[in-house]
């Protein structure tokens, strides 16, 4: 229910923004939404009357599939109780690429991200169907252990969530958990290496035993990234990793993502289209639980194939 509500309000917001745009193509729509401005905010029917967002979605346009897929989903549906959150998503994530997922709030992009490492298993009412593969292995099969899967497919969350432990223990936790370091010095090396790769080492090398929660927001998020890469996963999922950060911290993390893509496959959900444009190889646009378009990032932002995608990205920029 909550997801549905946010979807409605977000769509309304998008529309308002789009309304501000004065393009010839949308003049008709503009007139209509201006006249209905007050009603549109509260009524779902009115939203659907709006032509801009009432465009039918018939499958995904663009290039959802790649040859060297690291992860892939076919016919993915996700339900929260009776409510369907994701409708028939088919997409591949290529090896060592950064796939950005954009779309209005509540469009299902975070939900889809959580499908990929079975984090949705923790929500009792959530049901995932379809075929999801990591290196050709079905991740929802009985043989796949979710604990092993999550070690192979790491995740960085929207809100920095370091453990209330020391910086060292935060980074070492995953490695200790999986027995990745045999000796104390191995562990020390691993912590150092991970913090260096996350670009945090210089700032914290003298404070390794201070609590991770005492760092600034941007440092905390990099700590969380360090913690994730300490386990050396194959894929890193990032759920709006910079939404709580200032532009400088954001720039640092974006740089980091590009660096990490040499070694890892990254899927990132973001609200910032600039961010998607800056870091990703391909971009996927989600709308009301449906995957509308997947294409090379350049193409999505310069010459989108689908009308909805165009409306969304131009609305943001305008």
């Amino acid at each position: 229910m909550v997801t549905a509500m946010t979807a409605i309000t977000a769509t309304t917001k998008e529309k308002q923004m789009t309304d501000q745009r004065d393009s010839i193509n949308d003049r008709v729509a503009n007139k209509e939404s201006e006249s209905n401005a007050a009603d549109n905010r509260s009524s779902m029917d009115d939203i659907h009357k709006n032509e801009e967002f009432d465009i039918e979605i018939n499958g995904t346009v663009g290039k959802p599939f790649v040859d060297n897929a690291k992860m892939s989903s076919r016919n993915c549906d996700v339900f929260y109780g009776d409510k369907q959150a994701i409708f028939d998503v088919n997409v591949d994530i290529g090896n060592h690429e950064i796939l950005a997922m954009i779309g209005p709030s509540g469009c299902g992009k975070s939900t889809y991200l959580r499908v990929l490492n079975r984090m949705n298993d923790t929500i009792p009412i959530c049901r995932v169907t379809g075929e999801h593969k990591l290196d050709g292995e079905d991740i929802y099969s009985k043989k796949m252990d979710p604990v092993l899967l999550r070690a192979r497919v790491g995740m960085v969350f929207q809100k920095p969530n370091p453990f209330p432990k020391s910086i060292y223990d935060n980074v070492a936790y995953g490695a200790k958990l999986h027995g990745l370091a045999r000796t104390r010095s191995d562990l020390d090396d691993l912590v150092e290496k991970s913090l260096i790769r996350a670009g945090l080492w210089k700032e914290v090398k003298d404070d390794l035993h201070k609590p991770g929660t005492g760092l600034s927001g941007g440092q905390q998020q990099r700590l969380c990234i360090a913690r994730t890469i300490a386990v050396d996963p194959e894929v890193i999922l990032m759920d709006e990793p910079t939404s709580a950060l200032d532009p400088i911290a954001t720039a640092l993390i974006e740089e980091l993502m590009i660096e990490l893509s040499g070694k890892y496959t990254i899927a990132i959900v973001t609200h910032s289209m600039q961010q998607a444009a800056r870091v990703s190889n391909r971009t996927a646009y989600f709308h009301l639980g449906k995957l509308v378009e997947v294409n090379e990032t350049d193409k999505v932002f310069t010459n989108p194939e689908h009308k909805l995608t165009e409306n969304y990205i131009t609305g943001r920029f305008g």
Binding site: P124, V147, L148, R150, F157, P162, F163, L177
Partner: protein
Amino acid sequence: MSKQYKNTDTIRAGLKKRYAREKRFQFFGIASIFISFLFLLVLLVNIFSQGYPAFQQTYVKLDVKLDGSAIGVSKDSSPEELFKANYSKLIKNTLKEMFPDVKGRKQKRALKRLISKSAAYDLRDKIIENPALLGTTQSFWFLAKDDIDVFMKGDIDRTLPEADRRIKDFQLKWIDKLLAENRLEKRFNTTFFTAGDSREPEQAGIKGALIGSLLTMLVTMALSFPIGVLAAIYLEEFAPQNNRWVDIIEININNLAAVPSIVFGLLGLAVFIGFFGVPRSAPLVGGLVLTLMTLPTIIIASRAAIKSVPPSIREAALGLGASKVQTTFGHVVPLAMPGILTGTIIGMAQALGETAPLLMIGMVAFVADVPQGILDPSTVMPVQIYLWSDSPERAFTERTSAAIMVLIAFLVVMNFIAVLLRKKFERKW
């Protein structure tokens, strides 16, 4: 313009009322805190002023002629013979010598009651320890009888008419004589802390009840903490959501928290003593019954504490590949620990002060021995307080208050330990 800013006037008009409401609320708050402190102070001052004399005890010095022949023993007698000898006769003889003008049955009896009955046992222990003392004359300090003690503490007014006093004129004369010879002295009352209960106030101590309470609390703690916390963890983290059985269990736990404690006592009597044959009056059965009583409190508090751990911590651990159990015990439980400990200490404090369920399982009894283990008959502090407050002797009044002070001290120590533990676990996130 004025129309545009009309809200400002409306807001300003309401401000005075709002501030008045705030002031009023603050006044009530401060007043209620003040009143609670006042009551607490009155209670503590009352208990302390009544109880502190119990920490002193009057002792009498007697020069006892250890005449072995009078009681049929000698230096070479076996320990068994020494043990059986009639030492009170020695003390009686000493007193007779000190006060030769005592006559009549009544006065003779009163003379014997200058000294506590425990004097004979003290003497016996000393002679068994060193039989060479026999035949010499030694000075000993003996416990004074409770009436003498009460008089020495100024609780008997010698200006009252003789008929209204427990200490008669001839006894006063003896006391004056003893005082003149420096044979009466008030000392710190170690007996109160080293002895079990007794019918004689001067010999009665809190140790039996204290150890009984301690053992009972240990049993309660050892059972209710792990069971309660594990139940809470299971219900909160592992149990299926929206399951009918889980709901039923939840409702029942909440209801159990409101069940009168005497009902748990009846249950304990029927199940633990009647069915399982646990010895009655023992700290084990007391602890079992108090565990039943404490469990709902601990479960409810622990669940609330676990629920308040931010889900982001769980996600972080799960996202790194921690299993459910690793997440729960590595992150959720440590973060919930302060709340869990708060709930536990509330439950334990409740259990410490409980008497009603113990009535049913035979812990309201006169138990003179200090319990050695959880299977020995024993009593607990609140029960001891109740028993003493019921006794007619004046000296028990002050001991009642002193026992309350010990109980409060016990509670403070218990809370202090819990606060220390909580500090240790407290972390920011």
